[in-house]
Amino acid sequence: MSDTSSKQDGLEPEITRFFAGLDESGSEPDVDRAIYALGKRIDAKVAPVAPRYVQRRKWIVSAAGAVLIILISAGIYQISRPTQCFPPRPSTYSTMIGQTATIHLDDNSKIILGPTSKIQVSGRRVELQGEAVFTVTKHTQDPFTVQAGNTVTRVLGTTFGIRAYDSSVRVAVQDGKISVDSSRVLGSGDVATVTDKGTSVRHNVDVSQMLNWTSGRLEYRSALLSDIIPDLSRWYGVEIRLADSTLANQHFTGTLKPGSIAELANILELTYKVRVVRVGNILILETSPGR
């Protein structure tokens, strides 16, 4: 070690104090919160690295499969948010958080797949996990069927949405007629909710609002915040935690255009008069002091 450096480490007290005070302003970073958020991120199921289609390319692909894939990539441009679709097999499509995908079938039917959803297509028979809106071409001889959870929906030609993220399945019909589990026939404006306990049907519902996500808008009319939170995690990739549990019963009316988490935080702050603390992909809603 050189002479100069050893001398220089004996610092004047003023300089020592200067360094002690350096960078100390602002609030103390909350290490517990950070460890919690990091743990969440680490534990979050790492989205399976989608196999790149090129790597999995098989040279013998059925003509139908090839057409499908081309149409899918064309469909992506019609959606406001960038989307990706990585078919692990020619007939299975899945989306990640915040993504949608448009699938054109060879019978001219169209499927718009919601975020964190998966669909398996074989001809006019599809199996859905998550949410999708179907516009089905009429074909009297060959009904279009959707299996979602334990519910099978049969349809001749119509536009309808199915939401099956958990054990309950919601089928909303915009126009046409469909049958759910071969028993109930639903018409335009009908919404069926199928749970373990049975099926309930509401009539004259504004279905277009439920299916509006296909045009990149999430519309809510006096929806409970607790009901919206799962949507937000699927569209924004955020986890929302309520510091004050009474916030869950607040209503929300409005339209969200999924975008950045920062935007969402702003909207929530303005709507609910809360303080939103962001830690990575977690938003913590706290009741603002003084209100």
């Binding site: 480490d9 300089i15 020592t16 200067f18 302003s25 990575g280």
Partner: protein, 204 residues
């Protein structure tokens, strides 16, 4: 090197083996310093510094098997935080305006930092400090604020130990000069040095 005595070494070994508790312990140990350090390199750093540091830590966990037990994990974390902060900075539109804001940021932070310093001396030192090149500032920060050894400072900055020493020497010389001017000339500077107490004991 000093590696056998590096208190993080045992943690590192456990982290490489996939021990999450050890990782939490590492985070607990360095998080606040990393956020403050990253914040010093990002303007208007609020939660942004925390985001940067969390991303660094998250990546560190994923790369844990590639962490080199021969080198200091603290140096690795600070280097990664510095790079990540620079990436955020790259997005700043006008670099010159950015530098001005960085300077006033540091000034404000220092002056409002709640230290018991005489305002005049503090202001003079802060002014001199923010005028230093970034690498000198960072070297000084790491040495005197975060108490890092020369070898680690060198590895954070990606320079040789000698070069790190030179950066420190030049930085300190500038601060001393500012302190001397503030003290009213060479005489009082000598007085100060007469009362100099080596507060920081180094192990090098």
């Amino acid at each position: 090197m000093r590696n056998a005595n590096d208190p993080d070494l045992e943690l590192l070994v456990r982290i490489r083996a996939g021990d999450r508790d050890a990782f939490d312990e590492l985070v607990r140990k360095h998080y606040v310093a990393l956020v403050r350090f990253a914040g010093s390199l990002i303007i208007g750093a609020g939660t942004e510094a925390e985001d940067v540091v969390q991303d660094v830590l998250y990546r560190t966990w994923h790369l844990r098997e590639k962490l080199n037990p021969q080198s200091s994990i603290a140096a690795y974390l600070f280097a990664a935080a510095r790079n990540a902060a620079f990436n955020v900075r790259k997005q700043a539109r006008a670099i010159d305006r950015f530098k001005e804001r960085l300077a006033s940021n540091t000034l404000n932070n220092t002056l409002t930092g709640g230290s018991s310093l005489n305002d005049e001396i503090s202001a003079a030192l802060a002014k001199a400090f923010v005028r230093l090149p970034e690498r000198q500032q960072t070297a000084l920060r790491l040495r005197y604020k975060y108490e890092m050894g020369y070898a680690d400072i060198a590895s954070v900055l990606g320079v040789s130990s000698k070069a790190a020493e030179r950066l420190l020497a030049r930085g300190i010389a500038s601060l001393r000069e500012a302190l001397g001017k503030k003290g009213g000339g060479n005489d009082s500077l000598k007085d100060l040095r007469g009362f100099l107490i080596p507060l920081i004991v180094i192990g090098l």
